[in-house]
Assembly symmetry: C2
Amino acid sequence: MRDTRAELLAQAEILVRGRGYSGFSYGDLAEAVSIRKASIHHHFRTKTDLALALVAAYDARYDVALAGIMAAQPDAASRIEAYGRLYLTGVEDGLGCLCAVLAIEMDTLPDVLRADLARFFDKHIAWLERVLTEGCADGSLRPGLDPAATARMVVATLEGALLLERLLAGSAGFRSTLAALSDGLRPPRIA
Amino acid sequence: MRDTRAELLAQAEILVRGRGYSGFSYGDLAEAVSIRKASIHHHFRTKTDLALALVAAYDARYDVALAGIMAAQPDAASRIEAYGRLYLTGVEDGLGCLCAVLAIEMDTLPDVLRADLARFFDKHIAWLERVLTEGCADGSLRPGLDPAATARMVVATLEGALLLERLLAGSAGFRSTLAALSDGLRPPRIA
DNA sequence: TTGTGGCTACCATCTAGTAGGTAGATTTTT
DNA sequence: AAAAATCTACCTACTAGATGGTAGCCACAA
């Protein structure tokens, strides 16, 4: 038995991340999943409902990933790098960040959706702020670094790099940015 | 005598930067400029023609701005900061970067347009790389920093910050990211 | 027998784009 | 200088196709 709802979410995510929210239609999605356009409405009454479900699923996946990083990585510096690598699959698959794509079209989005997007990013920033604060304390990151500001900067850099390198140099470009980012966070070498 | 073509470009830019490329229509634009939809086709035969003109005008404005920074700012560190401040008006006006918006919808864009976008970003990266190389030499930036990688990172950070802070904390958030970015580029304090 | 998950057929509205016309300015020809 | 031709910038009216969404029907499983 196939899980149509899950397939719809998976294909819709690919479509949105590649073409933007207004850039994909129920028609496209129907074709991708091989059911009729009207049948999609059975699973997601409106396009907004679909978008909300998309963000919720995406957000949940990130929750798992962030918890995994906390468990697998010992220190702040490697946690930040592991966080950065999360974005890498997007570049490799030629897909932007779902929430970045939606954020771009902000002005056309319903308020609920916009609020969910803000929550998504705020959560990442808060997580990074905690990691960065630890990193300053344990010496794996440059002391005197502002955790709140740097957390915002890290998310911005990775979102920006995904956006850019999908268009430009692909994963090589992304890795290069990731290296430059880590460089700026490391404690200064006493050479 | 009013310059309808210029008004079309100005209003179209606002629409695209706020709602995405597929998110705005000739109908919207016609209303914004108070002429009939069909009349727009007189100035821009197709939507792609309009997008190309939009990018060309945007790119030209940045050329002027970059030249201005070279003339007005004495050292690399202040040039980078001035470059960062260029993005600030976007945050303040609640408008994303035109080329970032278009890049998000990459998969739907005609090849010509995609090539123009790549050229836009490559130009910025090349400019920054030059400035960064100078900065390493004259000591206003952290020595040993990789100019090519850092240039990509700077553009990524600013594009990402514009995207994020338009949704989140506005210009305060953006300034905070800008400060964290500069911090990472500065030579280490010998406290 | 009730709910699930599809379907066909439809709807109003919007989409980019076309056809063809008009009023006025500019340019060319006489 | 007058007349003719052309160009500019807009218009109304239209097209074909896409858009999100609705109504109602059917098969099947619990």
